[in-house]
Symmetry: C2
Subunit: 238 residues, 2 copies
DNA sequence: GGAACATTTCGGCCGCGAACGAAGCATGAT
DNA sequence: ATCATGCTTCGTTCGCGGCCGAAATGTTCC
């Protein structure tokens, strides 16, 4: 065995994610919010006591972080890196369509629009990335990106202020491989800002018990006017 | 339980990586080369028969691909996406220094210079990314990047021809979070080209049974002259 | 203080899957 | 043909880890 440093800990982390209950828990946390232990128990599909054990392990490995608040304990993903790792795994998972899984209505909703950690994904996320690229508001040299000056102005009008944070802190404009569309969508501070702004404007709303998003009628209108994005087709053949 | 599509398959993939033997196997394949089953058995630290089973599972899930050649069977990672997922996991793994693992000499070598799938990582990879950024050959707007025109010329002089492949195919310039340095290094076609060119010039050589790289004396010289990169310090306090 | 709720700890059960060696197929060498 | 090598299949063993329910701890509300 060559390098033990990677081997062991890599396996430890992956094994942690590699349990169905824990994977479901982490998936639920992928929308960036903090959830209570009991909510996570529901998502994980296991009892409260079992969930408690799982959460302890996840916290121990620094995959999730915990904040006590009254008699609740709120758990969230510990860092954007964790979210990125999980997203990367999901991308790989959606690849191998060996045995294809029946696509339920929930899945179609997820494919249309969802949150990915703290930014938008699915056909909506892709459409936004495409429009912004087309109008030269951002430049995605291949799968990586930068915001142009016109872009900065446009975004400012839209109500998003981006400081010129350079090397430090969080990336301004990253891309993230969309597992359902297999193309990159916008992540980083820009992706997060776009997402939260759309919530603020009431353009999108969370669908209960899911990471999927519903686009409101105002959203439909706003997206068309401001971004020239027509509603991502109701049902795509895929 | 909310969305089953992600949950289950996410867990499946992660569980696959979450076994120590398989993780070691995948780690060994992270240098981008294809290895035979018996070599992988050695890396995995388990018997040939056990390895065979592991490889079958990995191939079944499309994590690795196999090519028969004579009486050998060569296995390699199935796609860059798989490499990316593993790298992301390693990044997360190197985070939680709860119980810190003793850093052996092998680790120091890995930290100095190594391959990450098909590009350079470790202090060498970081130094290259820094230099190219400093000289404005590439622009890493935060953690994402594009090649400038001067950069294209410089690279051409160095013997690297980058076609203007746009959306399709592989990303020209991606970044990849370095698990040892915790900063992004260069991946994508550019990263791969830099790496293979340096092999071609004999600037770096593989260290036996490891993903670590040795920098040759020509390499030391060339890196200093062409990139202004002085040898990544022999031993850093870390 | 007592009741209701949230979460963790404990003990015990049970199954999955990793491991090995021996035997079975290939392919290549003599 | 015969033997060697590389890899897979089979049958078996065995231990780790997930699961639950009951009870313990903790927190808020009235």
């Amino acid at each position: 065995m060559t390098t033990m440093v990677s081997g062991t800990t890599l396996a430890e982390i992956a094994a942690l994610i590699g349990d169905v209950a824990r994977a479901n828990i982490l998936s639920a946390l992928m929308d960036g919010r903090a959830l209570t232990a009991s909510e996570l128990a529901w998502h994980g599909g296991v009892s409260a006591s079992t969930t408690s054990g799982h959460l302890a392990k996840l916290a121990d490995a620094n995959l999730v972080a915990m904040a006590r608040q009254g008699r609740h304990r709120y758990y969230r993903l510990a860092s954007p890196e964790v979210a990125q790792a999980i997203e990367a795994l999901m991308a790989v998972a959606s690849f191998g369509p060996k045995r294809h899984r029946p696509v339920g209505p929930k899945d179609e909703a997820l494919r249309r629009a969802r949150t990915c950690y703290d930014h938008l994904a699915g056909r909506l996320g892709i459409a936004l990335a495409d429009t912004l690229t087309e109008r030269r508001y951002i430049v995605l040299s291949d799968s990586a990106g930068a915001v142009t000056d016109e872009g900065r102005r446009f975004l400012c009008d839209f109500g998003i202020e981006l400081e010129h944070g350079n090397g430090h802190g969080r990336a301004l404009c990253r891309t993230c491989l969309d597992w359902s569309e297999r193309r990159p969508h916008l992540a980083g501070r820009l992706g997060a800002a776009l997402c939260s702004r759309m919530f603020e404007l009431g353009w999108v709303e969370r669908i209960k018990d899911s990471r999927a998003l519903a686009i409101t009628s105002q959203g439909r209108q706003g997206l068309a006017q401001t971004f020239g994005v027509t509603e991502p087709s109701q049902a795509s053949g895929d």
